[in-house]
């Protein structure tokens, strides 16, 4: 079954505070190891398992670092 949600983390805007990582109920975020241009290890999405709950967005202090998308209604169901 396809994931309901998707999270996009802007690597260059993340300050690596880890608040999204520890808050994510699905535990699908992790901290990267490469420094970004600000010198922070940005958070990364594991690539699957996002529910689109938006919690990471509301705990993130940076205005544009996190974007959360959800699948449009009626989509994402397995084909009959």
């Amino acid at each position: 079954m396809a994931d309901r949600g998707d999270v996009i983390i802007a690597h260059h805007l993340c300050k690596g505070c880890r608040l999204c990582i520890v808050s994510c109920p699905a535990k699908v975020l992790e901290q990267g190891t490469a420094l970004n241009q600000q010198g922070y290890c940005a958070a990364l999405y594991r690539g699957s398992g996002c529910t689109g709950c938006g919690i990471c967005f509301y705990v993130c202090p940076e205005p544009g670092a996190i974007t959360v998308r959800v699948r449009k209604l009626g989509e994402g169901k397995p084909a009959a």
């Binding site: 260059h12 300050k15 505070c17 880890r18 608040l19 808050s23 600000q38 509301y58 705990v59 544009g64």
Partner: protein
Amino acid sequence: MWEIKHSRSASFYDRFERKGGNTEITHYCPGCGHGVMQKLIAEAIDDFGIQDRAILVGPVGCSIFMYYYLDVGNISASHGRAPAVATGVKRARPEAVVFCYQGDGDLAAIGGNEILHAANRGESITVFFINNGIYGMTGGQMAPTTPLGQRTTTSPRGRSFEVEGPPMRMCELLATLDGPAYIERVALTNARQNMRARKAVRKALRNQVEGRGFSFVEILSPCPSGWKVPPEEANRWVEKYMVPVFPLQVFRDLDHSDRLPKGIDVSKGGGIPFAADPPVPAAEAPEGGSVARGTIGEEALTLSGFGGQGVLFAGMALAEGAMREGLEVTWIPSYGPEMRGGTAHCHLRLSRQPIASPWISRPTSLIAFNQPSIGKFAHAIQPGGLLLANASMVKEVPDRKDIRIVRIPSYEIASELGSAKSTNMVMLGAYLELTGAVDQESILAAFVEKGTRPGMLESNRRAIEAGRRAAVEAEQA
């Protein structure tokens, strides 16, 4: 197939243009509560469609740079003065949605006065109070809200009750006042609490849009850099050390849209009922004195005497009368802290032209109620000017041939009329007789407008007229 559920608010600028900074990110430290709060505010502004009428009154502190981020009207207030500035903005532009964003050093320390009075007046503004218990921007000094025991650069052994006193609870303090409509404290500690904060932010802004009155939201906010802990730990720190001191709750939730603070029932003796203004009798247009008629140019008058002699009041009465003749008028008083017996004087300018300066260093006329006034001002009278002295108290007048000197025993005259307190009106009457500067009826009309009782009005008229007669007699002598 995807739709965006949460993303950067439209109420943020596209780029954060600021000196020497990265224009894509805020200047806040990793894990700072300010970023979260400003996202919540921006989102609410987006959702309510109020971006074009939202005005931010910013603080001094880390969040002063908020004006680089939020694309709304903004004013940067002096340290702590945001609620006073917001009061002016809101009263001048009632359609605006005016919100203050202040830290605890700004709001609870230097601005303690402003927030108390704005709250007490129930101003229709919204105040976001970001409390991290520390002065973050300046390097972590103790704030009024620092919990007991916390070590800061200015409480290196930990804040103690004995030395620094206990932390101040602003919500509880404001909740003792009748003015505020809405007071709540929230905390940015985890996703659940952040959503409660989101709800409070939206309520506080919606209250203003709906005209429900003064709204105050305190946000316990992490300062990882100031506390020298990692962001995750800072959030736990708020929970562990701040929430027990600053309980999270709604302290007040009322609708003050009728502009009447709840809890005060005037009809049941909770206050003094407003009396209707007495009707103002239509005054006949006064003829106007010599300044209004242009026979003399600008009049620069100094009145001087002891406090309690009615020096300032006589000047004020003349000023009020002159205003009724359409003149430009300035009246500036100078007096000591004593209600009686100190020295008092006032400078009064009457002119048909706009007045550049209210200060008078060379008066055209001096009314001297006592001897010290002579020493202080008589030498400065312009040549050709007038010295009107209260002979009851002024025994020596200067030996000047270039000015007109008139002495009136005003105390004796007033006493004969039955009211020694009318000394000032006797002197004023003499002045009117000698200069004709303002029409006596203009002054009496001002008294009527100010609600002077008929008996007092008549007494003033008698005193003024007695002063006029005395001036004529003194000139003839």
